[in-house]
Subunit: 283 residues, 2 copies
């Protein structure tokens, strides 16, 4: 198996996630870490922090040097990037991405992928309400989940290699599944949560309301400080999975509301007890 | 003004909150801390930890020794307790409570209150998804909010004294308002958040879903591990404030859902941007 210590690793995009991968690659002593970004300030900051060896304003000069490439771009930019730069990778390159919606993306890339490139789609379940390279130290991988949706054509040894370095970076649970299953589940755990947070904040414009916060409101709404263009994309791209999840949540909410309105104490206690037990078992 | 160092302080109820107050009173060097509870194990644990000087299985023997009493009971028990034990307090005792719904409670107690007792209703915006004395070290007061809904008849020096010791315990922001305003705002920041968390957990029974969590789902649902009888009470007691807040949230959620369903990218971005800006300003 390859050793990460001998690899040249390229980061396409040095924002919040690219920056977090750069730092993690440094911690696990990757051979050389390169990055390309349209923002020269991010590249300069990455070089001066010692997080990347060299920065590239366009990917052509970087991609052909890399053994492993992390595509740290928004979903909509990912397909366009791969369409444009498929020929710039060196043969045998292991490529992975961090796109938060997988089905359309994986199909779009797979059908154009040359035989000598191994693209393993991935989704780190780590992030932050912050964005940009300067905030990337706010994004920890420690103990976080990672989802891979490998292609049938992926080389097993490359999947194992990628998993081994992700574990070394701190991710504690790596799940392999299909792009469709990923999108169905992520619509619930990630996108629905963000829709709820935004809807909750949408309800109240008085800034003094925070004086009445006891932690739960703050926790529920922290992710309303989201990266707006990214999450708009994720919601729209995965809307066919997200919309039924919103509807399902509306049903559960209405059920609770009815119990409260009709003062059905026993039914309310039963729902809350089930919720409590279920959440307690989720570890 | 009184000095807390010279006071005998009584805790009625040595559960999660009573235990947290006992520890905080110790840190600020209260003269003597006593507690009564129906659970002898909690009292023994409190004494052996040095958090309380003495435990009482019934309040009669304790209340008449106290300068200051914290009523750390569920809302429904509070009125009953005060009805039963009004005559057991020493004249001049400063009494405060921690009830999470105030209007009915404050009216219920105020109308029966003898002239020589000063009852200052309060609500510490601190808690935990844990419950019971053994977990009370999980409940931190540091940097938390506190709401007081003083009565017209309260002695100003007693209100100032209570506030001064709450600040010393670590609470950083104390808001004085009416019981009605408290209940209206708490319905939003606290009860609605708990209803949402329970509804979200209600949507999914697969325990493996946690493998797809990225932090936001975990944050939104942590409070679903609630104290079931307490929160059932709070929801029902404050239902006239809570129900319109649920309806309002349903409206905001439906608005977001419609933007997603109709792929109205600009409208969606605008709502998300407003939510982001608004949440960012809440500190």
């Amino acid at each position: 198996m390859k050793k990460i210590e001998d690899c040249t690793v390229g980061l396409v995009g040095l924002g919040l996630m690219g920056g977090a991968f750069a730092a993690a690659l440094g911690r696990i002593r990757a051979g050389r870490v390169l990055a390309c970004d349209i923002d020269p300030a991010a590249l300069r900051a990455g070089v001066s922090a010692g997080a990347i060896r060299e920065g590239f304003s366009s990917p052509e000069g970087m991609l052909n040097q890399c053994d492993l490439v992390f595509l740290c771009l928004n979903p909509s930019s990912l397909i366009r990037f791969m369409e444009r730069h498929m020929a710039d990778f060196a043969p045998g390159t292991l490529i992975t991405d961090i796109g938060g919606v997988k089905t359309g993306l994986v199909r779009g890339i797979e059908k154009r992928l040359p035989e000598d490139l191994d693209f393993i789609p991935g989704h780190p379940m780590a992030g932050s309400e912050k964005s940009g390279y300067a905030q990337s130290n706010q994004c920890s991988f420690q103990g976080k989940n990672y989802i891979l949706t490998p292609l049938k054509r992926n080389k097993p040894e490359n999947v194992e290699f990628l998993k081994s370095i992700l574990f070394r970076m701190g991710f504690s649970r790596i799940t392999e599944t299909t792009p469709e299953d990923h999108d169905r589940k992520i619509a619930f755990t990630s996108q629905l949560s963000h829709v709820i947070a935004a809807a909750l904040i949408d309800c109240e414009s008085d800034p003094e309301i925070i004086r009445f916060g006891g932690g739960s409101f703050e926790d529920l709404t922290r992710i309303a400080m989201l990266n707006v263009p990214l999450w708009t994309e994720l919601f729209l791209e995965n809307r066919l999975e997200l919309l039924p999840r919103i509807t399902q949540f509306q049903g559960s909410l209405e059920k609770l509301k009815t119990c409260i309105a009709e003062e059905r104490r026993d039914a309310l206690e039963e729902i809350l007890q089930t919720a409590r037990d279920r959440r307690t078992s989720l570890i």
